[in-house]
C-alpha cells in the first residue's frame, strides 16, 4: 500500500492542481492577515472559508482523481497487489497531498506573521486539524461515490449533491426542524444533529474554541457545556474519526467486489 501511496502522491505533486490549491491558500492566508491585521480575527474569517471550501475541494479532487487514474488502476490490478491496498493507497495519496497543500498554504503566512508568539496558535491548530479531518472525510466519500458509479457525469453529480447537502441543505432542514418543534426542549436534538454532520461539527468545535459562543444564545450555552468539557471534545473527535473510518472501510469492501 505504501508504494501505491508513494506513486499516487508523486503523481499529484507533479500535477498543476496541487500547486493551484496550495497557491490559493497561501494567497488567502496572506490577504486575510493583511486585511484583518490580527491573528485571531483572521482565524475566524478563515474558518468560514475552510468549512465550506475544504469539503468541496476534497469531493471534487477525489472524484476527479479516481476517474482520471482508471488506466493506472487497471495496470495495477494485474500486478500481484491486494485490491484494498491499491485503492486505499490512492485514497491516502489524494487526501494527504490535499491536506499538505492546506497545512503548508495556510501555515506559512501565519508562521511568518508570528503565530508562535501569539495566543491564537491553539485556535489555528484546531482549524488545521479539522480542515485535515474534513479533507480525509470528503475524499473518502468521493471515492465511495466514484467506485459505485461507472458513469463519470453521474459520479460528479452525486458528489456535488452530497457536498451541497452537507454544507447547505442539512443546515436548512435542521433549522426548520428546530423552528417546527420549538415548543419542545431541543438541546439534545440539536447536539445530536450537529454531531451527525461533519461540517457542522467542525464549525461548532472551532466557534466554541474561539470563545464567541455568547453569540449563539441559550443553545450556545448548552453547547459550551458539552463541547467545552474534555468529554465533549473526545466525543467530537471520535465522531470525526468514525466519519473517516466508515467510508474508508466501505472503499475496501466495495473494491473487493468490483469488476474491471
Amino acid at each position: 500500500m505504501l508504494k501505491i501511496l508513494k506513486y499516487s502522491f508523486y503523481d499529484l505533486m507533479r500535477s498543476r492542481w496541487s500547486y493551484v490549491y496550495f497557491a490559493f491558500y497561501l494567497l488567502l492566508g496572506i490577504v486575510l492577515l493583511f486585511l484583518n491585521n490580527d491573528l485571531s480575527k483572521a482565524v475566524i474569517t478563515l474558518m468560514n472559508v475552510i468549512i465550506v471550501l475544504v469539503p468541496l475541494i476534497g469531493t471534487i479532487f477525489g472524484v476527479m482523481y479516481y476517474y482520471n487514474s482508471r488506466e493506472f488502476t487497471e495496470l495495477l490490478l494485474a500486478q500481484p497487489l491486494k485490491r484494498s491496498s491499491i485503492f486505499l493507497g490512492q485514497y491516502l495519496g489524494v487526501a494527504l497531498s490535499l491536506s499538505m497543500s492546506l497545512i503548508l498554504g495556510l501555515g506559512i503566512p501565519f508562521v511568518f506573521y508570528g503565530l508562535f508568539e501569539s495566543s491564537a496558535i491553539w485556535d489555528f491548530s484546531l482549524l488545521l486539524i479539522t480542515g485535515t479531518f474534513l479533507t480525509l472525510i470528503f475524499t473518502a466519500l468521493a471515492f465511495n461515490i466514484a467506485l459505485s458509479n461507472e458513469n463519470k457525469i453521474k459520479g460528479f453529480g452525486y458528489a456535488i449533491l452530497l457536498w451541497l447537502f452537507l454544507a447547505v441543505i442539512y443546515d436548512g432542514l435542521f433549522l426548520m426542524t428546530l423552528i417546527m418543534f420549538e415548543d419542545y426542549p431541543l438541546d439534545k436534538v440539536s447536539l445530536i444533529g450537529t454531531m451527525l454532520n461533519p461540517i457542522d461539527l467542525s464549525r461548532t468545535l472551532i466557534l466554541l474554541k474561539l470563545d464567541i459562543s455568547a453569540l449563539l444564545g441559550y443553545t450556545g450555552a448548552v453547547f459550551k457545556q458539552f463541547f467545552g468539557t474534555s468529554f465533549g471534545l473526545i466525543v467530537s473527535f471520535s465522531v470525526l474519526i468514525i466519519w473517516v473510518l466508515l467510508p474508508v472501510w466501505r472503499i475496501s469492501i466495495k473494491s473487493k467486489k468490483k469488476d474491471f
Binding site: K3, D11, F72, E74, L75, L77, A78, P80, D259, F260
Partner: protein
C-alpha cells in the same frame, strides 16, 4: 497449470459466462477464440482476478485464486488496450512496475529488441498506438513468469515487430512456459498456437488442436473451420 470449474459471470442481466470448465496443462501455446462478446476477455480477466465470478472456482498452479493475490507473481499479463497513465514517461513506468513486482534486467534486452530507446524519455500520452503496444510487450515479457496471458497482442504492431513478437513467444514456449493468447487474426493463431479453445455463448465449444478442428468441421483450412462453427450456430 490453470483449472477452471463451472465458471459463471453475468454483468447485470447479460450472462457472459455460463458454466465454463477448462483445464490447461503446463507448457504450450493456447489460443482462446470466439466471436465478439463471447466472453474471452471476461474469462481471462477472471483468471487474473480483475473480474469476480458469480460462481465457480479457478485454480492457478494449484492455488485457489480467491485466497490471495500472490499467485499473480506467476502471471505476466498483456492487457488488450494499452492504457497507461499519460503523464508518466516510458522510463518511469518501467521503473515503477519493476518496483511493484521485482527487479529484472530483461527490460534492457526487450527495449533493444523493439527499438524503444528513442521513446524512453517521452510521455506515454504522446506515443502512437503501436509504440504503446511495444511498451506494453516490454512490461509483460520482462518478468520471467511461468504463465503468460496475452490479450490481442498483435494490435497496432508493424510487420517487423510482429515477427519479433512471434519469435519472442516461441522462445518463451521453449522455456516450458504456458502461454494463453486471444486474437482475431486467424493466420497469427494458426501459426503460433498448439491448441485452441473455442468459446461460444459463454461455454467452451471446442478444445483441441487445429487439426482436430478441421476434422470435426470437415473443412480444409482453419479460417473456414472457424467460420463454419459460427454459421452453423448462427452466432
Amino acid at each position: 497449470m490453470v483449472t477452471i470449474q463451472d465458471l459463471h459471470k453475468k454483468f447485470g442481466k447479460n450472462k457472459v459466462l455460463k458454466g465454463v470448465d477448462l483445464h490447461i496443462d503446463q507448457g504450450g501455446i493456447f489460443a482462446v477464440l470466439g466471436p465478439n462478446g463471447s466472453g474471452k476477455t471476461t474469462l481471462i480477466k477472471s483468471v487474473l482476478g480483475m473480474v469476480i465470478p458469480n460462481k465457480g472456482t479457478i485454480e492457478v498452479l494449484g492455488n485457489n485464486i480467491k485466497k490471495s493475490s500472490d499467485y499473480r507473481h506467476q502471471i505476466d499479463y498483456l492487457p488488450q488496450i494499452a492504457n497507461f497513465p499519460s503523464n508518466l514517461k516510458v522510463k518511469e513506468l518501467i521503473k515503477m512496475i519493476k518496483d511493484l513486482r521485482k527487479d529484472t534486467n530483461e527490460d534492457k534486452r526487450l527495449i533493444e529488441l523493439f527499438k524503444l530507446e528513442p521513446f524512453l524519455d517521452k510521455k506515454l500520452g504522446n506515443l502512437s498506438g503501436g509504440t504503446k503496444q511495444k511498451v506494453n510487450l516490454v512490461l509483460t515479457f520482462m518478468f520471467d513468469s511461468p504463465l503468460i496471458i496475452l490479450d490481442e497482442p498483435t494490435t497496432g504492431l508493424d510487420p517487423i515487430s510482429l515477427i519479433r513478437l512471434k519469435d519472442l513467444i516461441q522462445v518463451e514456449k521453449a522455456k516450458g512456459k504456458t502461454i494463453l493468447i486471444t486474437s482475431h487474426i486467424m493466420s497469427f493463431v494458426e501459426e503460433v498456437s498448439d491448441e485452441i479453445v473455442f468459446i461460444l455463448e459463454g461455454k467452451i465449444y471446442f478444445k483441441g488442436t487445429i487439426q482436430d478442428l478441421k476434422t470435426k468441421t470437415k473443412q480444409p483450412d482453419f479460417e473456414h473451420a472457424i467460420a463454419s462453427i459460427l454459421t452453423n450456430n448462427h452466432a
